[in-house]
C-alpha cells in the first residue's frame, strides 16, 4: 500500500512550518485530518487548513509563487486557481504526488460571513499538536466543535458530537457558549451538550427546534 495521504501530510506540514518561520505566515490544521485526535476515527481524502497570508503582507498571487516553488500543483492551472480564490478565499491545489487535494482557507478578518469568521477565531487559539511525530499547529478542540457546528453537514455534526462525547469534561464551556452566541449557533451548541449520543438523533432534534 502506498502512503499517499501520509506523504501529502508530511509535505504540507514541512511547508507550513517553514513559511511560518521564514515568512511569518501563521497557519493551523482544521477539519477531517484532526478526527483521530479529536473525534471518531473516520476516513478523509483531503487536508483542510487555514493560512493567514494577508497579515504577512502576501497577496494570493505572491502566495501561489511560493506554492509553485514548493512542488504543489494546481487542479487545472494556477491562473484559474487564483481567480477562484479571489472570490472564495479558498485555494484548492494538489500535493507533489498529485493525489491529495489541499483545501487552503485564507484567513479573512472583519468579515460578516459566518464561515469566514471561523478563521481568525481558530488561529487565535491554535494549539501545538503532534501527528505522526511531526509537531504542527492545529485548531483547539473548542474551535474544532465551533467550525463543525457552523458548517453544519451531517458529517460535521457527527464530528462535533464525537469531540463533545470524548472531551466534554475538559472543554472550556464558557468560551464555547460565548462564541456560539456570537456566531448564531447557540441552538446547535445547546443540543450538542444535552446528552444526545447519536448523530441521527441530533439531526432529528435540530430539525424540530430550527
Amino acid at each position: 500500500m502506498k502512503n499517499i495521504y501520509r506523504n501529502a501530510f508530511f509535505q504540507l506540514t514541512e511547508f507550513l512550518e517553514n513559511i511560518e518561520k521564514e515568512q511569518g505566515i501563521k497557519y493551523c490544521l482544521v477539519g477531517g485530518i484532526l478526527v483521530g485526535l479529536y473525534s471518531e476515527i473516520r476516513s478523509t481524502t483531503d487536508i483542510d487548513f487555514i493560512v493567514d497570508i494577508y497579515s504577512a503582507n502576501f497577496s494570493i498571487n505572491n502566495f501561489i509563487e511560493i506554492l509553485k516553488e514548493n512542488n504543489f500543483y494546481p487542479i487545472q492551472d494556477w491562473n484559474n486557481t487564483a481567480m477562484l480564490a479571489e472570490g472564495t478565499q479558498i485555494l484548492k491545489y494538489l500535493d507533489k504526488q498529485e493525489r491529495v487535494i489541499l483545501d487552503n482557507y485564507i484567513v479573512v478578518r472583519n468579515s460578516a460571513d459566518v464561515y469566514k469568521k471561523i478563521g481568525p477565531i481558530a488561529l487565535e487559539r491554535r494549539v501545538r499538536i503532534k501527528l505522526l511525530g511531526i509537531e504542527c499547529w492545529a485548531t483547539s478542540k473548542e474551535d474544532y466543535i465551533l467550525s463543525k457546528l457552523v458548517f453544519g453537514g451531517w458529517q460535521d455534526y457527527a464530528d462535533a458530537l464525537g469531540c463533545w462525547l470524548r472531551f466534554s469534561e475538559t472543554l472550556n464551556l464558557d468560551y464555547l457558549d460565548k462564541i456560539c452566541n456570537d456566531l448564531g449557533i447557540s441552538k446547535e451548541c445547546k443540543l450538542l451538550t444535552s446528552g444526545i449520543d447519536d448523530p441521527d438523533e441530533y439531526f432529528e432534534e435540530l430539525r424540530k427546534i430550527k
Binding site: 500500500m1 502506498k2 502512503n3 499517499i4 495521504y5 501520509r6 501530510f9 478526527v35 483521530g36 485526535l37 471518531e40 476515527i41 473516520r42 476516513s43 478523509t44 481524502t45 483531503d46 487542479i75 494538489l94 498529485e98 493525489r99 491529495v100 487535494i101 501527528l131 505522526l132 453544519g152 453537514g153 451531517w154 458529517q155 457527527a158 458530537l161 464525537g162 462525547l165 470524548r166 449520543d197 447519536d198 448523530p199 441521527d200 438523533e201 439531526f203 432529528e204 435540530l206 430539525r207 430550527k210
Partner: protein, 83 residues
C-alpha cells in the same frame, strides 16, 4: 419495518457512543496511526477500483472527480435532508 425501526437499527449498528468510548481507551498515537492507515487504505482502494474501471483515466483525474463527487454529496445532504 417502520421508519422508526430503521432509525433504531441505524443507531444500534453505528454504535456511535460505544465507538467513542472505545477510542478513549486507545492510546492517542494509535488512534492517529489508525486514522492515517484508514485514509491511505481507502485512497489506494478507490484509485485501484477506478483504474480498473477506466484504464485510460489518469490518477489525477480520478482524484479530482472523487473530490467533486464528495462535495456534491455533502451539499445535497445539507440542503435536502436536514436543513
Amino acid at each position: 419495518m417502520t421508519t422508526d425501526n430503521n432509525r433504531n437499527y441505524r443507531k444500534l449498528s453505528r454504535g456511535f457512543k460505544n465507538k467513542i468510548k472505545l477510542i478513549d481507551r486507545v492510546p492517542i498515537e494509535d488512534t492517529i496511526n489508525l486514522f492515517f492507515e484508514i485514509c491511505d487504505l481507502n485512497l489506494n482502494n478507490y484509485i485501484d477500483i477506478e483504474q480498473k474501471r477506466f484504464p485510460e483515466k489518469s490518477v489525477k483525474k480520478i482524484i479530482i472527480e472523487m473530490h467533486r463527487k464528495r462535495i456534491n454529496l455533502k451539499r445535497r445532504r445539507k440542503s435536502e435532508e436536514y436543513l
